[in-house]
Symmetry: C2
Subunit: 221 residues, 2 copies
């Protein structure tokens, strides 16, 4: 034990959303970052976050971050991990409890981005403040694991979606193209989606079928 | 925000081990608990834990708990979750970062149990202090999930084991008997164990084959 001051608690949030790229038909896995306006790491980009207030739960603190940064209140919000290395902040000892959120594509487009906040593509981040590069790495790993064995991709889509929409989410998260026929077979085998009987509106000869999640909230694991 | 004092940080540990039951050939999933010697919850059983010292990492604090409670330094130690509900302690606001450990059967038998410490069967716990019932519930769920899709059961065994030993670990964790032939088939299909070429010593006509993990440390997920 030591007589140093007690470690402080912060709550930070990794917010994933899919954003359209200019001059491209693809969407890209992205996250909003906040530019630091004070030392340490003045001017560097960092995850949204701040101290835990005495009267709010960890999840409430994460929701407050989310609203302050993006104006959004996403359904999918999950605790990621708690980071507490002794030297992770150059000033005071801070233990950060990190949550991660998934923002639906339509929500991400509507997000009211605050001052000093900008969306970055997950595969083209600047060097972040503190150990936030490591934290984003953890969150990406968790998201990529989960997209393979849970229904989590549905959280990034509207209630009804085409299989092409769903494949695009998987592709953006995994960072690689997937074969459409194999993808369709694999998804149909999981039983995680069902046809709504409706089709995408528009003038096409064979409009794609619309699907929905067979369980909106419950994940496989 | 509020002017209440900042929340304090504690690190607690759920330590799982397999312990033999008297007058039985079976082992039982068990965990050591500490009897509280002060308020709140004086006299109740609780998870081993305590405040995070300013100069130790979260993992170091968990290891310190483990050594103080059992004298052991188990290989498998993993962060479980951080519990921070506002009212979880009746006195001060405490955020608890919880680790869970797996203690090998031979280690659990050797454990130097401290004063006011006792092993309890996981399925016959007394009502615990604070929200520790909920925490143990989380840890059990995580352990049971992991035993199905990772090599984690190996962490409870010596380096070489029979398939009956491995099945006994799965049975103790899942709390139900498993069919030996089905179990053998399933385990062999996963490729997580390999025969050592050696057999269990003893006077038996057909001594069982000894296996080892194909990857001592890396888990499937």
């Amino acid at each position: 034990m030591s007589s140093d001051p007690a470690p402080a608690i912060a709550v930070s949030t990794v917010i994933f959303g899919l954003r359209a790229i200019e001059r491209s038909e693809h969407v890209v896995l992205s996250l909003p970052l906040v530019k630091r306006v004070r030392e340490p790491y003045l001017g560097r980009w960092a995850l949204p976050g701040g101290p835990l207030a005495a009267t709010e739960s960890l999840r409430e603190a994460a929701r407050r971050n989310l609203r302050a940064t993006t104006g959004l209140d996403p359904k999918h919000l999950e605790q990621l991990y708690t980071f507490g290395a002794v030297e992770r902040s150059p000033v005071d000892r801070v233990v950060s409890i990190v949550y991660w959120a998934l923002v639906r594509t339509d929500e991400a487009d509507r997000a009211r981005i605050g001052e000093n906040v900008r969306w970055f593509a997950a595969d083209a981040l600047p060097q972040l403040a503190f150990d936030h590069d490591e934290i984003v790495g953890w969150a990406l790993k968790r998201l990529r694991n989960k997209v393979e064995y849970t229904r989590i991709a549905h959280a990034l889509l509207a209630d009804e979606f085409t299989l092409a929409d769903l494949r695009e989410v998987h592709e953006a998260i995994l960072g690689r193209r997937l074969d459409p026929a194999n993808f369709r077979r694999r998804i149909e085998a999981t039983g995680t989606v069902e046809a709504t009987g409706r089709h995408l509106e528009g003038g096409r000869h064979r409009p794609p079928a619309l699907y929905r999640s067979t369980a909106q909230k419950e994940l496989l694991l």
